[in-house]
Symmetry: C2
Subunit: 261 residues, 2 copies
């Protein structure tokens, strides 16, 4: 039997009112992804939905009634390091949404935090909005395109239940922060800084899939320690906190509709 | 009849020895694309190979024996400006290669040039190699991943015949140049600077399609004039030169094999 035809708004509100069935979790680093893969007993997809040659990895499984897909962009085919950053993140978000038609995209990962805005190492944030800080195009309107501000999908009940911190997320392809990046991050009023969020948001918005951003703080950007050193030092411990938070998010989501988040 | 099976190298060398049949030309700005669309009498694809909702536009047609596809990322759906930069460029390159399986990708567009390296406004360059200048990740090997150096497909005969200039191309998502960008551009030994090339190269390399980069100089980065002003002032005139060069490239390619370029 064919579904009843109706205006797009009606279809959208109907999809808001059925339980979330399929989620895609975009995670840039293997270290961040593997504990969750084990926790949910996900299996690496042997019959890849992605083209031959790309290093992208899909871990799939079911948890209660939820189809969980963790997508990791994989190791760079030439250099063997995690394929971090906005280009890889946008590609895997696009390919995953096309192949899996998820109800919700979750971008989970570690991030830098600003202590001046209340962030501390180990904090878990849910981003309220995301923007880029390294796309400066000083031409009217193209400047706004460069910033690429987008709202995260609103999840007031999830926030209340889990007691996560909320802050604005700013994304750029560098681990460090130049004075120009800093000025843009301040203009973005950001509390957290990552290397993928705004790219995931851009693609999810393009393909009309709601997206949320769970970010765990590994390093204090406006602190005394060099970012790379602090990041590597805290990565393992903070990943545990991140994975606990993502597990709580998934537990909360299971059985709920988008409009119940 | 099924094609004879053989090792991958044999297959690759066979494809090098049949005439190029399908090309994808990635052009970020409508102003740059439309004169070529008219010149080759291409038509906008009404039955899009791209997903619903994306602004990406394919102009298609045949010219002598060549299937020409000009792919323009289109106007940002919210802001109405050209979808410039590495995220859009990587997405349309990926989606175009997946849908059209081209023999060759050409990224054509305007760029900034460094007079200290011999560039002048109106010059047409073919990039010898491409890299990013705004992905600073100061962790061993991840630093190289950030730079993302890739060779353009080698086209010695094309170069000789058309008398184009040759230089290294450096890509970043900002139209301006911060001191950190400048240091990376110098490290990349770049003569030209754009906002898409290295992203197109990354995706083409991932999917094993040869790519070349035809770039026309609109502004002198190490000159006296503000980049945005000089860029907008020269855009129309330089686009004419760019489109002439791309036409010459297409004329040269027609009927040839990859190994004859």
């Amino acid at each position: 039997m064919a579904p009843p035809e109706g205006p797009e708004e009606l279809m959208a509100s109907q999809s808001d009112k059925r339980p979330i069935s399929t989620i895609v979790i975009i995670i840039a680093m293997q270290t961040e992804a593997l504990p969750l893969v084990n926790k949910f007993q996900l299996k690496e997809d042997q019959d890849s939905v992605f083209p031959t040659g790309v290093p992208w990895v899909r871990y799939r499984g079911t948890y209660r009634d939820l189809n969980i897909n963790i997508i990791w962009p994989g190791k760079d085919t030439a250099l063997g390091v995690d394929s971090v950053g906005t280009v890889s993140a946008s590609l895997v978000t696009y390919a995953s949404i096309q192949a899996l038609q998820p109800d919700l995209v979750i971008n989970a990962g570690t991030a830098g935090g600003f202590k001046a805005k209340g962030a501390a190492v180990g904090d878990i944030f849910l981003a309220s909005e995301v923007a880029f800080h390294d796309r400066r195009i000083p031409i009217p309107i193209l400047d706004l395109y460069g910033v690429g501000l987008r709202q995260a999908f609103s999840t007031p009940d999830l926030l209340k239940r889990l007691g996560l911190k909320v802050g604005k997320l700013s994304t750029g392809d560098s681990l460090d922060m130049s004075p120009q990046d800093e000025a843009s991050i301040i203009a973005n009023d950001a509390t957290i800084k990552d290397m993928e969020g705004a790219a995931v948001a851009y693609v999810a918005d393009l393909l009309k899939v709601p997206a949320i951003f769970v970010k765990a703080i590994t390093d204090i950007v406006d602190g005394d320690k060099p970012t790379a050193e602090e990041f590597l030092q805290n990565l393992a411990a903070v990943t545990v906190a991140l994975d606990q938070a993502v597990t709580q998010v998934i537990d909360f989501i299971t059985g709920k509709c988008l409009s119940d988040l």
